[in-house]
Structure formats: structure tokens, C-alpha cells
């Protein structure tokens, strides 16, 4: 694997990318309205994806195989995706929301049911991904990747032989005072604190929400920054030593040049699992093309090229079988089974819950 490939394009969600995504999004909006009216569908699929989240030749390969070209534009957060589609689909055929947003968008009828007969490659998926609690029967979504949150750290900043394998070091300890950065996503933060308290991250009782808020207000003096999912950049630039990040982002950093000074651990308490899924938004101009494209992305060879590039865990058994031992046995990409067993998906618990979490985060920041 080419070392240093990821050094600059590190995060699928980093902020510089967000700027790029916004710029591309703007220019793309014009293109969409231009081709949406006259094209009549058939030859183009409009794909709305995360940045650095596709193989280098995937879109061209699909075009060569089917004659359908793919227009890809980029978003940086699920919220951005949701806000973009909230007032109606501007012409996208395939989108990549995370699990919670699959539920939310399905409830709001912003995504349409998939025709499984058009996606035969669904059989490539690992059995546990054939169905999902957040989308019973996979009616609306096909899994593209999955990812977990964990702790990225600088090995040289740790005491000899020490591994920060508990959420305590981020949320409830002065040990790394002012060398800590945590994600500024209210729901993720609160849910991981619930994991630290030893309870499920779904349906957190009010009493725990109160104690979590107090804990984070106490811990705030030791935290240097709430980062916008660019934590691995803060780590790389020496600003901090320990950070809450996604495994894929850390795997990318660690496979870059100089990446061996960093490591990643999923705390023993368990963590939050996410899964980014392929969906077809309501009002998509090219539904047939969208199904063909989703089916292609689930193909073993095509998936292999994507996975080699993006370094995220794949839910696709056929792809995993083609990948080398480097990938299959990478503990950053695939955390140990016992820790995964203690980890959970975050369920969509309604907008009121999201607002409550947001207000708690506002209170923590204002305290």
C-alpha cells in the first residue's frame, strides 16, 4: 500500500474537506438542475457521498461496465445531508446516510424502499448485515461500511506500556489534562459517557443524563478542544495527545508516513457503532440506475478497490475475503470481538431526544 497516500486526505469528515464539499456542492447544484430536466434519466446517476469515501477508479469502472456515468458530489456531515434533502430532493439518486439517519429519513419518507431483486449482490453481505435493527428487513438501505469510535493516541506521550483503554481518560480523569480533544457531536459524546457509566447508550435514563452533564462540566477544564471530526489532524500536529475519533480516520493516519507513532484502542467498556448505508432518496430521477449502482458497489471486486482506498471495515464478506491479511488482521480496523460484543448501534430516538442532547451540550459548553 502506498505510504503517505492518506496524509493530506485524512478524514472523510475533516473541516477543510467540508469547505471543499460545500464548494463542490454549490457548483453541482447548478449542474443538477441543468441535467435533471432534459436528460429524462437513464444515463446518469447522481451520487451524494462523503469525501475520500470511494475507490479511485470505481466511478469510471461502473461507467465502463454499464454505460451509466456517475456524478459525485460531497457532503461532510449527516446533518448537512439531511438539511440538503429536507426541503425536497434536489436530484440525487444515491446517498450515504449513517444508520440513525436511515431511520430518521425513512420515518420522514425522504428515502424510498429498495427493490431487492435489483440488488443480487446483497448476498455478498455478512449475515449480520443482511438485516439491521435500524432498518428492519433492509427495506431502505444497503450497508456500505461500518465504523466505531475509539481513542487515538500518541504512544510517546503515554507512560511506558500504558494503553488508554477506558473512556475514563477522556471523560473523567485529569491524567492528560489539556492534551485531550473530544468530538463535538452531542449525541455521540453523551452516549459514550453512558457506556463509561456501564449502561446502554440507547434510552439513557434522566438521572444518568444529569450525572453525565456534571461529569463533562467537571472534565471540561482538562479538555483542550471539542473538535469537528478533525481530531486526527490535531493529534498529528502535536496539539493534543489523546483524542476521540473514528477507527477509519485513525487507520488512515496510521498508514500515512510517520503514522507509527500513533495508535488506536477501543475502550473495554464498549463503544458506539455506526454504519454508513446506501439509500435512494424519494424523488430520485434515475431509480433503475441507482439500484444498478448500489448493486455494483456491493460487488466483490469493486468493493475491494474501494476498501483498499478508504480503509474502513467492510460489511461485505466477498470483499473481506479478497483483502489481504494486512487489512483483515488490523486491530484498528477490526476491534477485538469481545469489545465489539459490548458495543451498540445508536438508535434514532426521535427529534426531541436529539434536541435534548443538543441542549445538554450547549449547557456544557456555556458552563
Amino acid at each position: 500500500m502506498a505510504k503517505g497516500k492518506y496524509l493530506t486526505g485524512a478524514s472523510r469528515r475533516s473541516l477543510l474537506k467540508q469547505f471543499g464539499a460545500a464548494a463542490i456542492g454549490i457548483s453541482f447544484a447548478g449542474g443538477l438542475s441543468a441535467c435533471g430536466g432534459s436528460g429524462g434519466g437513464g444515463s446518469t446517476v447522481n451520487f451524494y457521498n462523503w469525501d475520500t469515501y470511494i475507490g479511485p477508479t470505481t466511478l469510471d469502472d461502473f461507467n465502463a461496465a454499464t454505460g451509466t456515468s456517475v456524478n459525485m458530489s460531497l457532503f461532510a456531515t449527516n446533518d448537512e445531508l439531511f438539511a440538503r434533502l429536507r426541503a425536497g430532493n434536489p436530484g440525487f439518486d444515491v446517498i450515504v446516510p449513517s444508520n440513525e439517519f436511515v431511520t430518521r429519513m425513512a420515518q420522514a419518507q425522504m428515502i424510498q424502499e429498495l427493490d431487492h431483486s435489483l440488488i443480487p449482490n446483497m448476498s455478498n453481505l455478512l449475515p449480520e448485515f443482511q438485516d439491521a435493527a435500524f432498518d428492519p428487513g433492509r427495506r431502505y438501505s444497503m450497508p456500505y461500511t461500518w465504523l466505531v469510535l475509539g481513542i487515538g493516541y500518541r504512544k510517546s506521550a503515554m507512560p511506558a506500556g500504558f494503553v488508554p483503554n477506558s473512556w475514563r481518560y477522556l471523560f473523567d480523569s485529569p491524567q492528560f489534562t489539556q492534551r485531550i480533544a473530544v468530538l463535538s457531536e452531542s449525541a455521540d459524546l453523551i452516549r459514550l459517557c453512558a457506556k463509561y457509566q456501564g449502561i446502554s447508550l440507547n434510552g439513557i435514563p434522566d438521572a444518568n443524563l444529569t450525572s453525565i452533564e456534571q461529569m463533562l462540566i467537571r472534565q471540561k477544564q482538562h479538555i483542550k478542544a471539542f473538535h469537528e471530526d478533525d481530531g486526527q489532524d490535531l493529534l498529528a500536529s502535536g496539539e493534543i495527545d489523546i483524542v476521540l475519533e473514528y477507527n477509519g480516520d485513525m487507520a488512515q493516519l496510521m498508514s500515512a508516513e510517520g503514522g507509527d507513532q500513533f495508535d488506536f484502542v477501543v475502550p473495554t467498556e464498549g463503544t458506539l457503532i455506526n454504519s454508513d448505508c446506501l439509500c435512494i432518496p424519494t424523488g430520485a430521477p434515475n431509480v433503475a440506475g441507482a439500484h444498478a449502482f448500489i448493486n455494483y458497489l456491493l460487488d466483490a471486486e469493486a468493493g475491494k478497490k474501494i476498501t483498499e482506498e478508504i480503509q474502513y471495515p467492510t460489511p461485505n464478506a466477498a470483499v473481506a475475503a479478497l483483502m489481504g491479511a494486512d487489512y483483515q488482521n488490523n486491530p484498528v480496523i477490526f476491534p477485538p470481538a469481545d469489545i465489539m460484543a459490548r458495543s451498540e448501534y445508536g438508535a434514532f430516538e426521535g427529534d426531541d431526544r436529539a434536541r435534548l442532547y443538543e441542549e445538554i451540550f450547549t449547557r456544557i459548553s456555556a458552563a
Binding site: 473541516l15 469547505f19 438539511a83 457531536e185 483542550k224 502535536g238 436529539a354 450547549t362
Partner: protein, 301 residues
């Protein structure tokens, strides 16, 4: 004699229609929609009922949010004062420079404007971070001083500890001053440049010192420029969102960050709209105050 627009209605209309239409469709209509949202209620993930409720405003004036408003006012106020203190001598120097130099100095003030705000903020991060240029320069000085101490037989200074310049409120204010300085310098410059120089000469001739001339003659004459400089620095600083987000620490949240999160993560547009309109009312108050000062100074002049 000046021709009144009433005598050339057709020509006036032809000229006025495009900007007025622009203003209506791209400013007033969207603003009215957001204003309507602020009296709405969420009924589903993407549906809002316009019920005319004041609940969003009631929530927006809870102590939690008022405290954040207050904090934003303080941060914007400090930014504006610093911009004024730094910008006034700069504007004065430009106003009194030779015409050729003046053009270059103005260009230097405007130059950062041509770069995207996000790029400038990331550049500031590269300058201020622990592995950044300020710390590199300080470390170099420290090591040289340390080497000099050993040379003259004293204890060396020991290891250099990088300064923490980022991710705190000071970094936010540095960033805001850096971004908003041109907003202050340009109106100040235009006020100072237009000023009648003979008044200053008279003041100096009549025995006032330089400091006294500036405070008693220049500042009052430039008051409208100062007022508009303060206003157009203060208002965007009050609504700053990117700078506290990128340079701030865990307690640097400003009101615009809270508003942004209502429209995105919280998916609560009515509440976000109510917060936005409270911010807008604060802006109107600031504009009214500026108009009041302007009118007063015109009456006096």
C-alpha cells in the same frame, strides 16, 4: 437645480426595479420565511406548523441562552475596542501618507479580504499552534538565549515549553481582530482622509500638542467614521461562527454556533429562527444607536 426623481418616474423605475426585486426575493422573502419559522412548532422531522406560538422566544430568553448572548456581546465588544485601538493609528498613518504610498497601504489592508475566511483561519492555526511559527520563533530565541547563558558560565534555561496559543478565548479574540480589522480601518480612513487639514494646523498653531490635537480635534471630526467603523466591526463579530468554532476551546461557544447547531444537529428550525431574530434585534439596536450618534454629530457640525 437638481432634478427630482418625480420628474423622471419611468427612468427611475427602470433603474430601481432590479435592485429592489433582488432585495425582495433574496433578502426580504427568505427573512420573512425565517421570521415565520420562529413562531412555528415542529410536528415531525421535516414538518413545521405555523401556530403563532411564542414558545421559541420564551426558550430563547432562558438564562442559558441569555448568558451565551451576553458572552457574545462581550467578545464582540472586546474585538471592536481592540480593532479601534489598532485601527485608528493605522488609518491615520494611511490618511497622511503620500498618495503613492497610500494606494499600497490600502492594498495591504484589503489583501487579506481576497482570501477566503476559512483559509485565513487555517493559516492562523498554522501560526499559533504548538508546532506553529510563533512557537518556532520563540523556541529559537529561547535556545539562543540558553546557549548564551552557558557561554557566560550560567545555568542554561532548560527545555523550551511551547506556549498554548490556540483553543481558548484569547485565540478567538486574536482571530476576530485579525479578520475584522479592515472593517474598522477603511471607514476610519475615509473619515480621516476627508477631514479639513487646516483645522489640525490651526490647532497646532494655537499651541495644542499632537496628542491633544488628535483627541480634541481629529477624533470629534472623525466621530461618524468611528461610529460606522464600530458598527460594521461589531455586527459581524457578534455573529461570528467560524472563528470560535475553529480557534476556540471548550468554553468559546458564541451564539452563532448555537444557532448553527439548531439548524443542523438539533433539527429545530423554529428555535434556531427565534435565536437568529433575537440576534437581529440586537443588530437593529446597534444600528439605531449609530444613527443616533450620526444625527447628533451632524446637528453639532
Amino acid at each position: 437645480m437638481e432634478q427630482s426623481w418625480k420628474q423622471a418616474k419611468a427612468a427611475f423605475a427602470a433603474i430601481a426595479v432590479p435592485p429592489v426585486a433582488w432585495l425582495v426575493f433574496f433578502f426580504l422573502v427568505p427573512l420573512a420565511v425565517i421570521w415565520a419559522y420562529s413562531f412555528g412548532e415542529n410536528t415531525g422531522p421535516i414538518t413545521i406548523d405555523f401556530t403563532g406560538t411564542f414558545a421559541n422566544y420564551a426558550r430563547a430568553v432562558e438564562p442559558l441562552y441569555l448568558q451565551i448572548f451576553l458572552k457574545s456581546l462581550i467578545v464582540a465588544g472586546i474585538t471592536t475596542v481592540l480593532c479601534l485601538i489598532i485601527g485608528f493609528p493605522v488609518a491615520l498613518a494611511i490618511a497622511f501618507a503620500s498618495p503613492k504610498l497610500k494606494a499600497w497601504l490600502l492594498l495591504l489592508i484589503m489583501l487579506p479580504f481576497w482570501t477566503n475566511l476559512l483559509i485565513r483561519t487555517f493559516a492562523l492555526i498554522a501560526v499559533l499552534r504548538e508546532q506553529g511559527y510563533v512557537n518556532f520563533a520563540l523556541e529559537w530565541l529561547w535556545n539562543n538565549a540558553s546557549g548564551f547563558m552557558t557561554l557566560v558560565g550560567l545555568q542554561p534555561l532548560g527545555e523550551y515549553e511551547p506556549l498554548t496559543l490556540l483553543y481558548n478565548n484569547t485565540a478567538v479574540i486574536i482571530g476576530l481582530v485579525y479578520v475584522h480589522l479592515p472593517f474598522m480601518v477603511l471607514p476610519l480612513y475615509s473619515a480621516l482622509d476627508r477631514m479639513d487639514r487646516s483645522l489640525m494646523e490651526a490647532s497646532l498653531d494655537l499651541g495644542a500638542g499632537h496628542m491633544r490635537t488628535i483627541l480634541m480635534v481629529v477624533v470629534p471630526l472623525a466621530a461618524p467614521g468611528i461610529a460606522s467603523g464600530i458598527l460594521i466591526t461589531f455586527i459581524p463579530a457578534l455573529g461570528a461562527y467560524l472563528t470560535p468554532d475553529l480557534l476556540g476551546g471548550t468554553d468559546s461557544q458564541m451564539i452563532a454556533n448555537v444557532i448553527e447547531r439548531q439548524f443542523k444537529r438539533a433539527n429545530d428550525w423554529p428555535f434556531g429562527a427565534a435565536l437568529s431574530f433575537l440576534l437581529m434585534y440586537l443588530t437593529f439596536i446597534a444600528i439605531a444607536a449609530q444613527a443616533f450618534i450620526q444625527r447628533k454629530s451632524e446637528r453639532r457640525g
